[in-house]
């Protein structure tokens, strides 16, 4: 009698994930030809147009691009947390261990979040609920996903806070988000993402809202934890410095397209797309003090009625007539890299 009681209390909610056959030999995450549209008042905006990449365990992929290029939308489409409507995933596949998440029913997919793929957001202050304590918000994951009691959840929350290096975690667990400093808050976000030991972390501009010194600390923490747990990390950023420090390979996005993919050394050494080249040239350099900063002229195109041909041609230094009419395919470049530019050879050698 008493035995059944204890069992009942400790009963774990049966996760719908146990019925899904994940293939452990398949890559951790494969995104293939992902398409996302937004239905706006002005028409249909194609926010993501055929993005593909593969992420393996222990690998860091940097997604680079300026604001509005579809980085965050790609991330949220992978997580399945886009606001639908207005957004709609219109095509492609997102395979986790060989299983397409886009074909899953919502109940199963809900359990993929946090358990398998977790996300860290840019602004930790607004991304944490202001009216609940940090410990409550961390513990909620254990209570909702692992059937933990309040007490167990709290103990787990303290553990997590200690893991991400928050001093006096036992006391701070009862504090509210606004009582933490920016860096500490982002550590809380990281702790939240790691709570259920997922395989993949998607970090959407995790350091953009922080001071430079704190940025470095948070990035170092993230990189350490990733190495330790052999996580697949997707790092979304527009900060070329951050990308260079921690990523293995880079996917550059422009106006919803993945315009170039290569490993981090190659891309910094010899960019294969004019946009990447222009981005690299626009990084301010100490040895060019006093000179004018190089900027990419013009603005990114509207996503509702994008220009025909290559979406970058109005701002491109290499553009010819062909770029105005023919949309470039993804060319395979030597050394297992890709570029969506008709004149990639010229760019590589320039």
């Amino acid at each position: 009698m008493s035995e059944t009681l204890t069992e009942n209390r400790k009963r774990q909610p049966r996760s719908p994930l146990s019925g899904v056959k994940f293939d452990d030999s398949a890559p951790l995450l494969e995104v293939e030809n992902l398409q996302v549209e937004f239905h706006t008042r002005d028409g249909i905006a194609k926010a993501v147009q055929g993005v593909s990449f593969t992420l393996n365990a222990g690998e860091t992929l940097g997604i680079l691009g300026e604001s509005g290029c579809g980085k965050s939308v790609t991330a949220q489409a992978i997580m399945g947390i886009l606001d639908t409507p207005p957004a709609k995933v219109t095509g492609g596949q997102v395979r986790y261990r060989g299983v397409d998440l886009l074909q899953m029913d919502e109940k199963t997919r809900r359990h993929v979040r946090a358990n398998k793929i977790a996300m860290i957001f840019q602004d930790a202050l607004s991304s944490l609920n202001p009216v609940f304590t940090v410990g409550w918000q961390l513990g909620e994951l254990y209570r909702q996903h692992a059937g933990a009691s309040r007490k167990e959840a709290r103990a787990k929350a303290v553990e997590l806070l200690e893991m991400v290096g928050i001093p006096a975690a036992r006391d701070r667990v009862n504090d509210f988000p606004h009582q933490f400093s920016g860096g500490m808050r982002q550590r809380v976000m990281i702790a939240m993402a790691l709570a259920l030991q997922p395989d993949i972390i998607i970090a959407d501009e995790p350091t953009t809202a922080l001071d430079v010194t704190v940025q470095a600390q948070v990035m170092a923490l993230l990189a350490d934890l990733q190495r330790e747990m052999q996580l697949g990390l997707i790092l979304i950023t527009h900060d070329m410095g951050v990308v260079a420090d921690v990523t293995d390979k880079i996917c550059v996005m422009y106006a919803g397209h993945a315009v170039e993919q290569a490993n981090v050394y190659e891309i910094y050494e010899r960019p294969g797309h004019p946009y990447t080249k222009a981005l690299l040239e626009s990084i301010p350099r100490v040895d060019q003090k006093g000179e004018e900063l190089t900027a990419i002229k013009g603005l990114p195109p509207a996503l509702v009625n994008p220009p025909p041909g290559c979406s970058f041609h109005p701002r491109c230094a290499f553009a010819r007539d062909r770029c105005k009419t023919d949309e470039p395919p993804l060319y395979q470049l030597p050394g297992n890299r890709e570029s969506a530019c008709h004149y990639w050879e010229e760019v590589l050698n320039s």
């Binding site: 997580m79 809900r110 993929v112 607004s126 609920n129 202001p130 009216v131 609940f132 909702q144």
Partner: protein, 334 residues
């Protein structure tokens, strides 16, 4: 939280003293400018001077400062504060204590307030949540139409219509029928009935709460929609929580913060008595007391009741401020 409450209580002292002083200034200035209310009471048939002097002494109107316009009568204010502290808010022109008259009527107003408040809060929030979750769908448009209609109808129109159609025509049908239970007929009646102190206030309470119901529904809707778009809701979704939990726990608590502010102000207003509603349904509440005092020029009653209501309003606001801090931790640590 304890420290916040303590600080709030300390802040309360200057607020209540300041408000009472302003009220005192208003009433003394009125007497100084308009003239002695005792003399005004008798009009042309003035009784002997000795009687008038006696009455002036009884009503604390014999202070010399009351004949000097602009004199703040600080001595009188201190006297009054002492009386207020002892629960004495003066006597009316027939010699009855204002406090006694107020206590007699206040429970009715409190019951009416509770009914109106429960109705407007529960139905208002439910409608607001429904509209917010089904933005631009049928439910949202229905709530929009309904609330605009409620706000557009003045209470005296809405109250009279409710009294006529629900209280009189429908109610009479129910009270005369065999099948309807007694409570239903009494609930939908034309006016206050002391034998049914709660039931007979339901219809007036609904009328009284309907205006605020519209505001609460709209406020909840807007706040919910705004919060559903917020970053922390996105985080909650990324945490793999159920939609019910995301809306019911993460979003709703944040969305209700402005609603509580509104309800707080409303409690104070409702406790001050509802002149129009109490008039239509003949409810012997505080609103009626003030109304009768104004009509009969009973100055001490007006001053006394208004003072009590001010204190009630301030205390209600204090309680809501504390509730507000319980709901939003950011307030506590400012």
């Amino acid at each position: 939280m304890g420290r916040y409450v303590a600080r709030r209580l300390i802040q309360f002292i200057p607020v209540i003293l300041g408000t009472l002083f302003l009220l005192h200034l208003l009433s003394t200035l009125t007497i100084q400018v308009v003239g002695d209310p005792v003399r005004a009471l008798f009009g042309e048939n003035a009784p002997p001077a000795a009687v008038i002097d006696q009455m002036r002494a009884d009503y604390n109107l014999d202070d010399a400062c009351l004949e000097q316009p602009g004199n703040p009568c600080l001595g009188l204010f201190v006297d009054r504060l002492g009386q207020y502290a002892g629960g004495d808010f003066g006597i009316n022109f027939r010699g009855r204590a204002v406090t006694e008259m107020f206590i007699e009527r206040f429970p009715v107003t409190v019951r009416l307030t509770i009914i109106a408040l429960v109705f407007e809060t529960v139905v208002g929030i439910l409608m607001g949540v429904l509209a917010g979750l089904r933005k631009d769908k049928f439910a949202d448009n229905f709530v929009r139409f309904f609330t605009v209609a409620l706000v557009a109808f003045p209470t005296f129109v809405f109250g009279t219509l409710a009294q006529l159609f629900i209280g009189l025509q429908l109610g009479l049908e129910l009270r005369n029928s065999d099948w309807a239970p007694d409570w239903l007929g009494q609930m939908l009646n034309v006016g206050y009935n002391a034998d049914y102190p709660w039931l007979s206030l339901v219809l007036p309470g609904v009328v009284l709460g309907s205006f605020s119901l519209a505001s609460i529904a709209r406020l909840t809707r807007t706040s919910l929609i705004e919060n559903l778009r917020s970053d922390y809701v996105r985080t909650a979704r990324a945490k793999g929580l159920r939609t019910r939990r995301i809306v019911g726990i993460h979003t709703l608590r944040n969305s209700l913060i402005p609603v509580v502010t509104y309800i707080g102000i409303d409690i104070g207003l409702l406790l001050g008595g509802a002149l129009v509603t109490e008039g239509i349904f003949n409810i012997p509440g505080v609103g009626q007391l003030v109304w009768l005092a104004i009509q009969s020029n009973d100055t001490p009653v007006i001053i006394g009741v208004v003072t009590i209501l001010t204190i009630v309003f301030l205390v209600a606001n204090l309680l809501v401020d504390i509730l507000y801090a319980a709901l939003d931790p950011r307030i506590r640590y400012e």
